[in-house]
Symmetry: C2
């Protein structure tokens, strides 16, 4: 029996059967293109992101549903970082010779569950075979009120730098999962927490919407490649430097525990690990308290981790004792094997 | 020296340098997502299509610029088949270990040239490495006036079936290119013509726009998988059968010449070859003449090849002499190796 289904159109029909009816979809899957209705006056926000088996995910360490949901979440997170409302998705699958049909169906079910959770309509896509690994490329379309998108370029001198939730936890999850012997004696509850952070990240859609609506966020990005690299993009776009207080980084107790077992500094996991999908943003110092209150009301903690500084060149880390020192503002890089913390497998 | 560039962000910067300024782009490449402005009141039209090296294209038989342009054209053709105006594109690249940086740059230049030719703004994308073959996945966004999109489902009993340009020519081009000895004695001018049809298809954007505006086109699709398969989608969506007059199929003299040298029936190339990117559409019988005049004024020939018939089951072919016979309404299928004419390589 062949590993791949024999008919492209049968597979598409099966994957997309009974898609929910979602407002704004005039023509969904099944024609040359989708036709959708956007909200009058709003801007369209578009992003895409690809997931390659062995590069971005390890099929042996997660269920296909988890991996599919995560492929959608990384895109949702990009829209969250603009302050946009997600609306429509196109899902492009590359099916390798070894990929089982059942696995694909479960992966797609994961994509659908993450889309459903945010009322995103899957309106199009593509299925092709490849001699390479299974890959998925999702394009996500959203909307935002005019002139409200929060860019990377708007941070100003003296702005506070904040981050939602906790950072470094996803990297701890990946390292724990791929080094089971090293973490054999770690509390199973901590292991479950870091695994969850790695495999089931939550896109901060409502928080991104609220931050954009508040008018206080001057710059925003999601933490996908590691805090240092992602903040580095904000610094470059805003033409400013930043000072980060090491002590302030929101490290979960589970992250610390796993990092210790692995002989890693949890700060490194936060700075270079990535995959946290938290929101990293800047607000004027005067708006820190109200912003914190706003996000707490939405159920997420937020931590001030540093300041934007014109006189600082690049990114500097201020330890709890001693002088500040410069670090390289970069994280994961998909074409660069010498990335600081090569947590992504297969590269 | 490594075959792939060492820095994802450097490569993106290089590929996307000096993108033209195009109206409607508020935030282009370089943030978490693009922000664009759509035309008030119009509907958004979205499609995506992937090209895998060895599956959809043969790097040894075409320049990287031709292949890149073609990757964009197949998407433009899908928008043409809706009657939409193309606006914005996201380009996702999967870079294999053997792909040279210079080849990628030239491929992307091809994408850009096809985008520029239609005033499409490249506003986003993704770059990732893969252990598999080089692949590109392009999402194209367009717009159309409200309720004007021409779907596959609108054909009516008695409608005439028309096709622009000529069909089977791209398949002749591929077969000629991959069987050089068989076509060694064919007139070089004919070979150049079929090669051009295969590698440099023209998306029928203006024709699609005009057909949608005319109000006469009841159903439309582009010929990407072969006329039989693509018409099959219209039949299924419109719940009708069709009768095609073999004699009427617009076969170019070059297609006939190459087919003869290859021992192939040119009609088979037209029905099952695909990659022609012509528009296949239906209009009421009363509108055939005005539709022909409209398209001729835009510089493209159009041919009536048959009729939609409720009493016909599926797709029937009426030869110049003899009785009509049923054929399977299917063309190229990306997961099915037993496709009638396996012109796509590597499957």
């Amino acid at each position: 029996m062949p590993a791949t289904p024999r008919d492209e159109f049968d597979l598409i029909a099966k994957l997309t059967t009974d898609l929910p009816v979602i407002e704004g979809v005039q023509v969904g899957i099944g024609d040359d293109a989708a036709v959708v209705q956007c909200t009058p006056g709003w801007s369209l926000v578009a992003t895409c992101d690809a997931q390659v088996e062995g590069r971005h995910f390890l099929p042996d360490h997660a269920s296909p549903e988890e991996l599919g949901a995560r492929a959608m979440v990384v895109n949702l997170s990009d829209l969250a970082a603009m302050g946009a409302e997600p609306r429509f998705a196109l899902v492009s699958l590359f099916i390798g010779p070894a990929t089982q049909t059942e696995w694909i169906e479960r992966y797609y079910a994961g994509i659908r569950s993450a889309a459903d959770a945010h009322r995103v309509a899957i309106v199009g896509g593509n299925v092709t075979s490849t001699p390479g690994p299974f890959s998925a490329d999702i394009t996500l379309l959203g909307e935002i009120e005019p002139d409200r998108a929060v860019l990377r370029s708007g941070a100003r001198e003296g702005d506070a730098i904040l981050v939602t939730g906790s950072v470094g936890m996803a990297a701890a999850g990946l390292l724990a999962e791929t080094n089971p012997q090293a973490v054999a004696h770690v509390n199973p509850h901590a292991l479950a927490r870091v695994r969850e952070a790695w495999l089931r990240p939550t896109p901060r859609i409502r928080m991104g919407r609220a931050l954009a609506a508040s008018g206080h966020a001057t710059a925003m990005i999601d933490v996908s490649d590691g805090l240092a690299g992602d903040l580095g993009h904000v610094l470059a776009a805003s033409h400013l430097g930043a000072l980060i207080e090491t002590q302030a980084l929101p490290l979960d107790a589970a992250t610390r525990e796993v990092a210790q077992a692995l002989g890693r500094d949890p700060v490194d996991l936060a700075l270079y690990g990535g995959d946290d999908y938290e929101l990293l943003f800047t607000v004027p110092a005067s708006a820190v308290d109200s912003t914190r209150a706003l996000l707490v009301s939405l159920g997420v903690a937020v931590t001030r981790i540093g300041w934007m500084r014109a006189e600082v060149e690049g990114l500097m880390l201020l330890p709890s004792s001693g002088a500040a020192f410069a670090i390289e503002p970069r994280g994961w890089n998909h074409l660069r094997p010498d990335t600081p913390l090569p947590v992504q497998p297969g590269t």
